[in-house]
């Protein structure tokens, strides 16, 4: 599945506070970076894409489907949160991956096959029986990725995937992201992670401040942050 996301005048306000100014934008391609200062509207932008936040004005579509239809949004878009420990619901990794599949009418054998398949995809079979609270930061990210990818979304949103990781785990997660066949939108403060991206969106004070190749967007970001 390709990436075809359209913002049609979509904006978000919480009372008088504007989290994201109305935005009209089309997104396609394999890798999109999203950068900006804290509170600039990056996460609100991302949450609009999988229907976790509803636009106050306008609409957002993913592959032609309005994200106000929650079922469609969730089926198309996987979301990896900033803190993977909050994303993992059950204590054992394989149980947690299976949990997202159980309510989709699959048989036990199909669920087991999907769990094994997604773990094998990342060479993470050894994590299957591990307890989530015993995992390293990188392993937690892999477990969270597996739990989301097991349901087969075509688009993945990763919210600060290398946040709080040491160099080793950061390299692990970067390698995994680079190899993902799914389209991915990556929100990050880790500028190295998105340095090679052809398209990076820079948000500032709830507005899209730049939509450009990585080098240009990063340069503009540094000007804003200075």
């Amino acid at each position: 599945m390709g990436l075809d996301i359209r913002f049609e005048g979509a904006g978000v306000s919480f009372g008088a506070r504007v989290a994201l100014q109305p935005l009209t934008l089309g997104i396609s391609g394999k890798r999109i970076g999203v950068i900006g200062l804290n509170g600039s509207g990056k996460t609100t932008f991302a949450r609009l894409i999988n229907g976790l936040t509803k636009p106050s004005v306008g609409r957002v579509t993913v592959n032609g489907r309005d994200t106000s239809d929650e079922k469609a949004a969730v089926a198309d878009v996987g979301f990896i949160f900033q803190s993977p420990q909050n994303q993992i619901i059950l204590p054992i990794v394989k149980d947690d991956i299976a949990f997202g599949l159980k309510r989709r009418g699959l048989t036990k054998a199909e669920i087991e096959a999907k769990v094994e398949g997604v773990l094998a995809r990342f060479g993470a079979e050894a994590l299957a029986d591990r307890r989530a609270h015993e995992l390293s930061g990188g392993e937690l990210q892999v477990a969270a990725l597996c739990s989301v990818l097991a349901t087969g979304p075509g688009i993945l949103i990763l919210d600060e995937p290398t946040n709080q990781l040491d160099l080793k785990n950061r390299a692990l997660v970067e390698g995994i992201i680079a190899g993902l066949p799914e389209s991915a939108i990556i929100i990050t403060h880790d500028l190295e992670l998105i340095a090679g991206f052809e398209r990076v969106l820079l948000f500032h004070e709830g507005r899209l401040a730049a939509d450009a190749p990585a080098a240009e967007a990063i340069a503009r970001y540094k000007e804003i942050a200075a």
């Binding site: 929650e70 969730v74 619901i89 204590p91 949990f99």
Partner: protein, 202 residues
């Protein structure tokens, strides 16, 4: 996240989750029907033996029970103020036996088993049109998931107090604990929505 489940192969581990949950329900009802001190004492003894068999080190086992047991003692002390000692002893024994069996069931049944079993048991209620069995199972699973999380948060806030040289008081502990727990609950709810777990995505 941590779990209340204890790995093991005791008799209680091997029993089916359904048998354990139904036994706990029946046992609870029987305990509240009887006020025979001898019978209740035997119940405490038996449940204590079962709890001891789950494989937890003695000190860890006691630590887990401490908050609930202290609450039971407070209830018994209140009873003792207004009633004869026999009448205060009955709820003490009754609630202690119930606590021990409930702790045993919780320690020998994984959250997944709980969710699956409660969902299956609640399935007939869906015919009323008032409830979703999946949601009842999920709600119970989340309660079990959050217990160790809340304890962990409590300990972290306590340590933060000590590190700053502040006296640990319930009044200064409760507000951050409630706020952090609600924030955690929000994050988990968002994750559940994002993964389509409650939306029955086909």
């Amino acid at each position: 996240m941590q779990s209340l489940y204890v790995e093991g192969n005791s008799v209680m581990h091997r029993l089916s989750p359904r048998v354990k949950l139904l036994s706990l329900t029946v046992f609870g009802v029987v305990l509240f029907i009887s006020d025979n001190i001898l019978l209740l004492s035997i119940a405490v003894l038996l449940t204590a033996v079962l709890y001891r068999m789950i494989g937890l080190p003695f000190a860890d086992g006691l630590r887990r029970l401490r908050p609930v047991f202290l609450t039971i003692v407070v209830v018994a002390l209140f009873n003792l103020i207004f009633n004869p000692w026999q009448q205060a002893l009955v709820p003490l024994l009754r609630l202690t036996a119930l606590m021990l069996l409930a702790a045993t069931v919780t320690a020998t049944t994984s959250i997944t088993e709980f969710i699956d079993e409660v969902t299956a048991l609640a399935r007939p209620l869906e015919r009323t049109g008032w409830v979703q069995a999946d949601d009842i199972g999920l709600a119970l699973g989340l309660v079990l998931r959050f217990v160790p999380e809340i304890v962990g948060r409590y300990q972290a806030i306590r340590e933060a107090h000590k590190a700053r040289g502040l006296k640990v008081r319930p009044t200064t502990l409760l507000a951050p604990l409630i706020i952090l727990t609600l924030k955690d609950a929000d994050n988990i709810a968002a994750a559940i929505d994002a993964r389509g777990i409650r939306r029955h995505v086909s």
